[in-house]
């Protein structure tokens, strides 16, 4: 009975994950976890239960589960593409959860017919000891630090130290392969996380030369819209000037801080002989044009 319940866990997890993915808002950790489960783990796990209902695959389970999940998701995507509603969130959640439930059910049906390898019976006390040992192995460093601290302050520390040593012995003798793998991967993961966080921050604040953007586009009522945006590192004064054959359409000064933008509209004189308008931006008191646009009149477009 317990085995049956355990086997149905993926189906329940799939249903719960689908519900979470459909209920929670973007950015919610629960939704992220649900999405990861539904896309990377549950379909492949359920498929493996169908293919190898009675086999303990050990570490082979990892690439097979993840790889099969990705394969199933790709193929389900092709199927969803055939429907008008397409690859929407609800469709994904329902399809993947339903498929996982279906595969789990087939696995449960197939299980009794396959050869079952008996697992050794363990007492409750041994199980608790195993979990404690596993915990000690996964988080050895905080325990180490805590132990050192307590050891230095006297008898309490000595007592805790003995507990730690006994846990360490227990861990070395009984830790399972999965937890050993986790214990070995955790430090690199933490350090990689630190490196990535620092790198992301550094990339976001990478020193780059400042620049300013001047753009123009046609708008309604035969107007030409101009936009000046500063991406310089400090507030800068600009002078925006537009003219047609010396006839000034606009001549204004602005002071823009980094990221600030100003928009304005000019009406081009269609009746004039000239074909183009020149829009020039000067930076600070520099007499040389800093940005320059040349607009062919709409009549000539």
């Amino acid at each position: 009975m317990m085995r049956l319940v355990r086997m149905l866990v993926p189906a329940a997890a799939a249903a719960a994950a689908a519900a979470l993915a459909l209920t929670f808002h973007q950015g919610s950790p629960a939704r992220v976890a649900a999405g990861l489960l539904l896309v990377l783990i549950l379909p492949g796990h359920a498929a493996l239960a169908v293919m190898q209902p009675s086999r303990r695959l050990g570490v082979v389970h990892v690439p097979l589960t993840v790889g099969l999940s990705l394969s199933i998701v790709a193929l389900v995507g092709l199927v969803l593409n055939c429907f008008e509603s397409g690859l929407g969130r609800t469709n994904w959640a329902v399809e993947l959860a339903a498929l996982t439930v279906l595969l789990t059910s087939i696995g449960v049906v197939r299980r009794p017919f396959g050869p079952v390898r008996p697992s050794p019976r363990r007492s409750a006390r041994a199980s608790i000891g195993r979990w404690l040992a596993a915990a000690a192995a996964v988080v050895p460093y905080p325990i180490e630090a805590l132990s050192a601290l307590l050891t230095s302050i006297g008898a309490v520390g000595r007592r805790f130290g003995s507990v730690r040593r006994s846990l360490g012995r227990s861990a070395r003798s009984s830790i399972g392969p999965w937890l050993a793998v986790a214990a070995a991967v955790v430090p690199a993961t933490v350090l990689a996380g630190v490196a990535l966080a620092r790198s992301a921050d550094s990339a976001a604040h990478q020193p780059r030369p400042g620049f300013t953007v001047l753009g123009a586009w046609h708008g309604p009522s035969n107007r030409e819209y101009l936009q000046l945006t500063s991406y310089e590192h400090e507030p800068v004064s600009y002078r925006l000037r537009a003219d047609v054959d010396g006839h000034v359409l606009i001549d204004r000064s602005y002071r823009l801080s980094s990221g600030a933008s100003v928009s304005t509209a000019i009406r081009l004189p269609y009746t004039r002989v000239a074909e183009t308008a020149r829009i020039v931006v000067y930076r600070r008191n520099d007499p040389e044009p800093y940005r320059r646009l040349t607009i062919v009149f709409p009549g000539h477009q």
Binding site: L64, G67, V194, S199, G215
Partner: protein, 632 residues
Amino acid sequence: MGTAKSHLSEARPGLSPTGSCLSHVPPGILSGSALSIVVGIGLLVVGVADNAARHGRASAEPLFWLGLVTIFAPIAAQLLRREARRQDRIVAVVLLGMALYAVKLLLSPNGFTFGDELIRLRTMNDIARSLHLFHPNPINDISARYPGSEIMTEALAKLSGLSSFHAGIVIVGAARLVAVLAVFLIVERVADSARAGGIAVLIYAANPNFLFEGAQFSYESVGLPLALLAILAVAGPRDDAGESSRLPLAAALATAAAVVTHHVASYALAVFLVAWALTGGLIRRRRGEVRQPGSVALALVALFLAAAWLAGVAPATVQYLTSSPTHGVVQLFDWAIGRGHARTLFGSRAGGYSSPPAERAAAIAAVVLLLLALPLGLRAVWRRERHNAAAVVLTLVALLYPVSLALRLTPAGQEAANRASEYVFLALGFVIALWVLTARARASRSAAWIWRFAGVATLTLIFCGGADVGWSHTARLPGSYLPGAGPRSYDPQGVLAARWLLEKFGPGHSIAADGTQAIIMGSLGDQRPMGVGGGGTEVWPLYFSEAFGRVQYDLLRRDRIEFLVVDRRLGHGYPADGRYISTGEPDERLLPSELAKFDRIPGLSCIYDSGDIKIYRVSRSLMRSPAGGRRS
């Protein structure tokens, strides 16, 4: 490969014990956690190198290599150890694959900055917008015909609420995990040695594409791991009890997904499975053994699926895939008879970018070492595994390595050789691992540490040489803008220009731009860049001329180009990747005066100026006028 315990799983004298999880744990300096900490420190060093490069410090380059060696060398030492348990080897293999994946993430931690990634992003954006597949991708239409990786990413993004970028790196990370474990388990199964599996992963990680190209959000980064998974399922992975049996349904699922995801991976898989089935049949017939049911069927399924997808969904793939190797072979022949020129190795063009001498030496040394090890490995295969069909086929694939090196000598063949490396190195890893097993078996115990040190040094050199060959010196680290230098060319100015054009003029306009801006405009700007893969003729004549005459006007009219994008920084130097705009362009430098000419062309409105990037709008009158080139 048989079911249950095959003949391969029997222990052999001279080979290291495969070791189960229950085997004795010898005391060693590099336990799992210690190794993990050292690898983490290596990543921190690479992160420091990246940060230094962003600030333009000269220390970045040596720090980067120091970080890579800190990651690779301890893992190599662990995997070469004869006494290491299988579980320790698996941990080391996972650490290697994921740590080197993190090196790529450290280069671009905040978004997609590789050209291929932006191409894929366009397909993903199209899927997210329309909820359907197979929208034409104007930057590279073939990629839209193989949407497997985009489907997975889209599913994860939709369900988890993660951004496309974060969902993409999770999917590629998961695929990387599958790939390294699959390589380990395949070679472990074929060579009957966990140590061989570990060594094969080390060689596989030394392939030029492993560090950056194979870690980017691209269809091959996902398709190849799926193909490897299919091979693993056919081989019959070994479980904790040391038993193995095939998983035909898993193989079929992974094959189908690989077919949907990547062309070359699916074809390579189909060919490999067919060759495996045929070789297995021949060997069994000669030895009078019973035929293995199902192997031929799986091979035929793979062949049928790949052919059906090619014919039904992506027929243009044939031309897309054959042009580069065909031209490569022609150029190689021309060069051999003295009619053509070889490609400039370790550099772009005469007077342009070139690798530092130390990196050239490492790259050449890596190639020489692999070429020396290959015949030794072949001898080991002949002696020990010539009756093993999978081993024979892997050996045949490994023999393609010298061929791929020859193709690298030609401009057109280089891309084909680069693509082939990930496939060839899997087989090369197996062959060399088998030689290492036999060579080390003869070494005395006293000399073991010398052998191990030499082995670690050699493998590290091969790895560093491979990393140097695979990714341009200028694109390996972040920094200020450089033309044609991968992630360094995708800077905020280009991104802002693409977003501005989309915001003010809407999507779907045909534009002419250089290679980098075309991808940014097509991906983030949702426009139709011409002449880069999606359609239209090549646009380089617009740029490679100081005059703007009939040829240029005709080109504008023929492709109905509405906007011209000009990045004036292209005039500052040669592109690191060897081309400014597209492959057909002249082999000469683009001059600033050629880029400045557009300001003088009547009928072109300059509507955007950010200092370096200018956007010109082509007037409708210019498009109508048959004598457009009136002033030139």
